[in-house]
């Protein structure tokens, strides 16, 4: 029922807002995981800038204020967390 009123955060939201804290799965890829995991392609991108400013929500303008380059717009809207990892959003859906 809650799902009809609230949605999950945007994919990049938790890392932007909670310093990279994001729910982690229980283990590596194995037969006990859903089929989707057999087809997931993942290339990790190491952090490069530990002091990156990811911006903040401005209650006055009611928009997110970010330094240049932190959010780039594309169909994968890309943003960076505080450790310099980049994060992509929900890709259109």
């Amino acid at each position: 029922m809650l799902a009809t009123l609230a949605k999950g955060p945007l994919r990049m939201g938790p890392s932007m807002l909670a310093d990279g804290a994001d729910p982690q799965p229980s283990g590596a890829d194995h037969a006990g995981l859903p089929l989707a995991y057999a087809y997931a392609d993942w290339t990790p991108t190491p952090g490069t800038d530990l002091s990156r400013d990811t911006g903040h929500y401005d209650d006055e303008t009611q928009t997110w204020v970010a330094p240049p380059g932190v959010i780039t717009a594309g169909h994968w809207t890309r943003s960076y967390d505080k450790h310099g990892h980049y994060v992509v959003d929900d890709a259109c859906a």
């Binding site: 799902a3 009123l5 949605k7 807002l17 994001d22 037969a31 859903p34 993942w42 990790p44 303008t61």
Partner: protein, 334 residues
């Protein structure tokens, strides 16, 4: 009288920001809140006898009866803080769902989209059934958690016709130590036989691959259509799923054929949604094949790449007020 618009979404939402700015530019009174503000920093009140409905957050007081529109974008769940145990929080959550949902739903204005309708509209098997019913071609599709059904589907597929696996929910895949990443639509091969028992773990969707000349992302805001041609076949990385590459090859503007428009309008009317972003394949023979509808789909990337006026169109819809009706459409070129 100045219009008043409520936007329900999280604080970090790059798609919402340009709409907030477009509304502010026309002196619309904008109130943007997340449901996670409730109950700790946001109050909601309804005096049923007097018909008074008020939302307060920080220094903003919003008369819900004055709203011309609500954009139900991406609000996140209520946040009750650390003081409650699991049982108490479940009680508080159930109470909040009834009250917050009920008070907001009682507003008489345009909702983009109504949460209850939005929740149903995003169910992909229902979308496909409905699309077929209104006369749109859809790929041959199997939805199941039964490995035997998958084996039979693969065996029945034509030898020259691949089968793809796609996730229903955007394919959020999380790995240890990683950030979440999407799962692209994938052509399956013999390796699926090795993994076939994993179909049992949850529902899976398989589709017959449809040959493409190009694809169309059709964003519908009210009765305004924004069809964008995506030349997905120009790049090997985007041939099966155009999300496979961040640099997009766009084609020249092509209006949606009248016959397809009529079916899309019928489908959206049945779903009851005001906004949706739909994906189509256009075959080498020129036939439009419906893939899916995203009732809360993103549009900032197209605004950024092509300069399409999505934000202004959304702002127009939210400030117009009154009941929305599906009717004659306008197609926007680029």
């Amino acid at each position: 009288m100045t219009s008043s618009v409520l936007i329900l979404t999280q604080e970090f939402d790059p798609t919402a920001d340009p709409v907030v700015e477009a509304l502010a530019a026309r002196d619309t009174r904008v109130t943007r809140v997340d449901l996670s503000y409730f109950p700790r920093t946001m109050t909601l009140t309804e005096d049923v006898d007097r018909g008074r409905r008020v939302l307060r957050h920080r220094d903003r007081t919003l008369d819900l009866n004055e709203l011309s529109g609500v954009w139900y974008r991406r609000p996140t769940a209520f946040d009750f803080g650390e003081g409650m145990g699991e049982a108490e929080e479940q009680f508080a959550r159930n109470e909040a769902i009834q009250a917050v949902g009920g008070i907001l739903r009682a507003t008489e204005c345009v909702w983009v989209n109504r949460p209850d309708l939005d929740a149903v509209a995003e169910l992909k098997p229902y979308q496909l059934a409905l699309a077929r019913r209104v006369g749109l071609r859809v790929p041959r599709t199997l939805v199941t958690n039964d490995p035997a059904e998958v084996s039979a589907f693969l065996a029945a597929a034509a030898a020259d016709r691949p089968v793809v696996y796609k996730a229903f929910s955007g394919g959020v895949i999380r790995y240890p130590g990683s950030f979440p990443i999407g799962l692209l639509t994938t052509v399956v091969g013999d390796e699926l036989r090795e993994h076939i028992e994993r179909v049992r773990h949850t529902a899976c969707m398989f589709q017959e691959y449809v040959d493409k000349a190009y694809e169309v992302r059709l964003t519908v805001i009210g009765n305004t259509y924004f069809p964008v041609v995506i030349r997905s076949q120009d790049n090997e990385a985007t041939r099966v799923d155009w999300r496979g590459e961040n640099e997009m090859a766009y084609g020249d503007f092509e209006p949606v054929p009248a016959g397809v428009v009529a079916k899309v309008q019928a489908m959206l009317a049945e779903l009851g949604v005001v906004y949706a972003a739909l994906d189509f394949i256009v075959t080498p023979g020129g036939e439009w094949v419906f893939l899916e509808a995203n009732p809360n789909g993103q549009f900032m990337w197209l605004k950024h790449d092509l300069g399409l006026p999505f934000s202004e169109c959304m702002a127009d819809l939210l400030t117009r007020g009154g009941e929305f009706r599906r009717g004659e459409i306008t197609q926007v070129s680029y």
